[in-house]
Subunit: 351 residues, 2 copies
Amino acid sequence: MKIHILLSKTSEWIQGLGPDAEIVLTSRIRTARNLPDYPFPGRATVKQREEILRIVEKTLSGIDLMQGSLFIRLNEVDEADRQFLVERHLISREHAVAGAGAAISISDLEIYSVMINEEDHLRIQVLKSGFQLDEAWDLMNGLDDRMDEKLGYAYHPDWGYLTACPTNVGTGIRASVMLHLPALVMAKQINQVLQAVIKLGLAVRGLYGEGTEAQGNLFQISNQVTLGKTETDIIDNLKKVIRQIIGHEKNAREHLLKNNVKQLEDRIGRSYGLLKNAHIVSSKEAIELLSALRLGVDMGLIRDIERQTINELMVLSQPAHLQKASGHELEPAGRDIARANLIRERLSGNA
Amino acid sequence: MKIHILLSKTSEWIQGLGPDAEIVLTSRIRTARNLPDYPFPGRATVKQREEILRIVEKTLSGIDLMQGSLFIRLNEVDEADRQFLVERHLISREHAVAGAGAAISISDLEIYSVMINEEDHLRIQVLKSGFQLDEAWDLMNGLDDRMDEKLGYAYHPDWGYLTACPTNVGTGIRASVMLHLPALVMAKQINQVLQAVIKLGLAVRGLYGEGTEAQGNLFQISNQVTLGKTETDIIDNLKKVIRQIIGHEKNAREHLLKNNVKQLEDRIGRSYGLLKNAHIVSSKEAIELLSALRLGVDMGLIRDIERQTINELMVLSQPAHLQKASGHELEPAGRDIARANLIRERLSGNA
């Protein structure tokens, strides 16, 4: 199973590098694109979707940036594999069940990926570690231009890129940033901050995108509007807001250090102790404890763990990842044990 | 302050040796004795109590078993020191506030101790590690005989030893055993067992004796009746019951190992992790976590900690002990931090 190789590879974002990486996990740009001569996937026949798939696969194989990439037809892999790709933020939940013609192309380090026959013919994604929206946009432009050159995207001079859903028409761009905001949560300032973000026309989501709950103090913030603004305006606006949130989180962390250091050390220490010693851990508990541990590492209170290890555990402790690593299906109770074993071993430096 | 030397000494019982030490912390025999020519302390004048004190002090200084013992007049030490002695199970709460003439003599290793002017003129205690009631009784006899020889206890041919409270008349003996019964608690069988114990005429108490709550799965079981039976009958009866309870606890532990080993490892591991990493720990939480850790050590699931270390921490993490060790008074919040520091350091092998 070729998907398996992703398990032993470290994505670029997991390395936890880039500017403001102590608060910003990832910067992501996603564009929605379509071929001119086919109906959108939701209205296309199976035959048409298969044709689109073949055209795009051929196109990608001729693009330098996608050399050595992994190409996976989603109906050729099983449910667990599709879930694995969702957990890795490479395909959406909708894409996982999209049926005929649905596929994903994933570049080395998972920086570039292209979903084929999701809601649109193409959903192109660039994922970078830390606060690097401009860099992500530059990379996106490079791939997008090369693909446009060969495919000639559906484009209207007045409306911009045509997309299946009107909310994506225009630039077809969604820029988003995954933020870790534990201090704002502890200080009970998070709702105030997020409400301000929403008033500014941005969207706030949980770890797995639209409609998911915020777990582990992780918040994904992205633009809503795609029409009537240039891509640069959209990205600049998002950047400005994110920079402010980073400032608030930093202030909240400093406040904790100054006024509640013992409570902070206690909370972080307890989380670390539980992760290193528990034998049964649910995914919800894991993400919460890892969030506290990450805060400890990012604030310099925990020095024997790398940020990369925590990012890896956040990914590897997810249900489909645990099953993939174990090589067989696991019941929820078995997963909670496998998760605890994985975390204990990694944090003891034995794995 | 001479009491301070107790801090750096390890009592015999703390070593955690003796038969069935994985379940029985201590075996204790206490006798109530009085001098014939003085009213009981509650009715004696200050002058009389001072006389009793001097007589007993002189007597003890001439007894081989009490050579090198620590003699403390309770009105010459402060409240924190008296609390310290209560926490060490060397004086009772009543004795701590008994006023003039109240004193305690403590032998090396704290095996023998004699409370002077508590409810009776003399409360003699022998404390041994593990399940050693016969050995404790032999030691008690040795000291009791020597003291009787010199003091000539108040004794009535029909009623036996005369005591301030009628519940102690007769043999004046209280034999008790401190049991650690976490598996029976986890299996929810503890109430059934303790109710049977009470029906057999025995008393069940918490860690600090009469009227205290059971914390840390520790239960003190002792005889109620002192009159109309010989000392040997009383001790044999208690031994029989304790042996049964030990059997029940062992069965419950085996059952956990066979049927719930993951849950057990999880619980013990989490407790260990919290103890090694928390920065704020209340005394109630400490005793509960130490109980789980002790179970792990006693069942061979935790191998890098000695039982003695846990016994030490149970004693040293108490409020007055923490203050004594720190050299100054500590507010509750400060104690919770000092307690966490002590436990973390001891369990990391740094102290």
